[in-house]
């Protein structure tokens, strides 16, 4: 099973290594991980997607909480959260295929951010499924290169995951 956790960490050198080291040492599988500063530059927020059953998830949360630089660990219930991922995809395009690609892009509410005679770069945001679906659709034209961020996630409503109380 896949789980998503949000981790607030001190923004210090080596923290990412501590976290990835913990995952590999304890045999936990990271599906994706994304990091960025929070509104308070002293802290960063990681969104980690983990594969495993509930026992594994509980250990992941407890072991992460033991790290001195980890301030908070929160499980995010997928039912109650919004999830987004960003991908930029370079696809082959020529005058015969370009308009078809542009149609697909508009159906997905994606955007074209670079155009050249032989290729296009497409930017898409959405949940994992949407990005997967667009990727699938674009494959027929030839995906030359792709960069995905891994997902970021947040609980709906007024509940917050942050460093303070």
């Amino acid at each position: 099973m896949k789980h998503t956790i949000a981790v607030i960490v001190e923004n210090k050198p080596g923290v990412l290594t501590r976290i990835s080291g913990l995952f590999s040492r304890r045999g936990f599988n990271i599906e994706s991980l994304s990091v960025g500063a929070t509104d308070n530059p002293a802290y960063s927020r990681m969104t980690i997607s983990v594969e495993g059953d509930d026992v594994v998830l509980e250990q992941v949360v407890k072991q992460l909480s033991k790290l001195i630089n980890v301030i908070r660990v929160s499980r995010l219930d997928p039912e109650e959260s919004v999830e987004r991922e960003l991908a930029i995809i370079k696809v082959s395009a020529n005058k015969d295929t370009r308009s078809e690609i542009m149609q697909i892009v508009s159906v997905f509410r994606a955007r074209i951010i670079d155009v050249s005679p032989r290729s296009l770069i497409i930017e898409v945001t959405g949940d994992e499924k949407k990005v997967d679906a667009l990727q699938q659709m674009l494959r027929q034209f030839g995906i030359k290169e792709m960069a995905r961020t891994g997902k970021v996630s947040m609980v709906r409503g007024s509940k917050v995951v942050q460093a303070g109380p």
């Binding site: 960490v9 001190e10 080596g14 290594t17 501590r18 080291g21 913990l22 040492r25 026992v55 509980e58 250990q59 407890k62 072991q63 909480s65 033991k66 790290l67 001195i68 630089n69 980890v70 301030i71 460093a163």
Partner: protein, 557 residues
Amino acid sequence: MMVRMTGAEAIIECLRREGVEVIFGLPGGVLLPLYDALYSSDLRHILVRHEQAAAHAADGYARATGRVGVCLATSGPGATNLVTGIATAYMDSVPIVAMTGQVNTGLIGKDAFQEADITGITMPITKHNYLIKRSKDIPRVFREAFYIARTGRPGPVLIDLPRDVTVDELEFDYPEINLPGYNPTTKVHQLQIRRAAEALMAAERPVIYAGGGVRYANAHEELFQLATRLNAPVTTTLMGLGCFPTDHPLSLGMLGMHGTKYANLAVQEADVLLAVGARFDDRVTGKIASFAPKARIIHIDVDPAEIGKNVRVDIPVVGDAKIALTELLKHVQQKPWGEWNEKILMWKKEYPLRYTRDENVIKPQFVVEKICELCPDAIIVTEVGQNQMWAAQFFKHRDPRKFITSGGLGTMGYGFPAAIGAKIGRPECEVIDIAGDGSFQMNIQELATAVVNDIPVKIAILNNGVLGMVRQWQTLFFGKRYSHTTLGDVPDFVKVAEAYGALGLRATKPSEVEDVLKEGLASDKPTVMDFIVHRDEKVSPMVPAGASLSEILELDS
């Protein structure tokens, strides 16, 4: 008013403020400024002959005193030599602060001479570690390091000190601890305590399983009260030996692979198992799926991550063992001695720890029994292997801080330097390292440290000429194919001892054992006692690795 000083002076000041009385270490190029500051301070420094011994000595000191042990090594090879000692302390939750020299900050990452990424290397074997990049961070980091090492579940903390950081000046200020990500749990959840108390009161066949956490929390008295009030038998792990007197009628001795048969049977029959400060290690549980199959499990531990890690727990209690047991005591009443206690007495009679005596060959178990008889209050330190198990089984452990052994990592070579550390921390106690000939040779060079610094530890080698524990497995599980486990009868340990200026004694017959022990214990010098034992003596009983605790082999020598 703030005082200006160099990084090295600030380090000495921090150590002084943390109440450090001794450092175990060995210098090198990048540490010269720090060693120079040490030279004019009154901090005691013990110069070891190998940095591994510095880490083990700091660890032995910490276990014997309950204070934080400190060791120091230079960059590169000095730092990597500490690694085994740090890992040993980590596995057994021992509070030490390890300081390492590092190349100048400007050279880090350039593969400079004697550069090693020691914070990277030790990340998985420390509770936390630091690389200090500015000398003004020294006071904060040292204060945090000592605090982290000794609080919550204790453990080693490493501080890496680039040379320039020890030279640069700073305004000394010892800031209050501010660690938003570190909040060790101490208080306990009252509802869980009440549930635990109810389960224990309702139990017909309770067993208490106590580990090293009881010792670190100083909770042995509360444990004793709880056990006697409930009339609940107590078994301990290797790390928990001494937390409950092994000669008490409720004592089951040690459980697990080389535990007593009655401890293992009791655990398998128990209807409620109370685990306190123990972590369900595989050497304790045997095959996990069939461990304590009939029991509801209550688990008290200061580390929330231990709960549910290896076994399912019915009643988790996160918190300090002393506080949790004190709270539990408020909710349990005296229970009578019952059928379960009688059954256990019967098992104890039927399956005692035993060995066959011999008039011509020294039995290692006999040596341990004699040590116990002549010196019941000694601090016993062990090496690893059969010697360790015999010391665990045949010494009557009564004091939680007087049995010191590498349990989690099983580090050969640990015992002797740890004994040096223990003796420095508790000079009034006799300190005896019960050793194997293989293990002792892994840090035998520390005889020089003991002699030069006049640290009169006693080493009792149970000399079987083999890597005995490995040989035992070869005998039992590999058709007696003794692949590379024979050490032979070199060196002559008596001569080695003498060469170092220590006292060397030898016993080859049972009749000589007592005299050698008496002479060795009376000596005021570091003393090596070489007891020649048979190489086929086995540790018994034994639950083979991966078998269930009920599958207990009783082995003849």
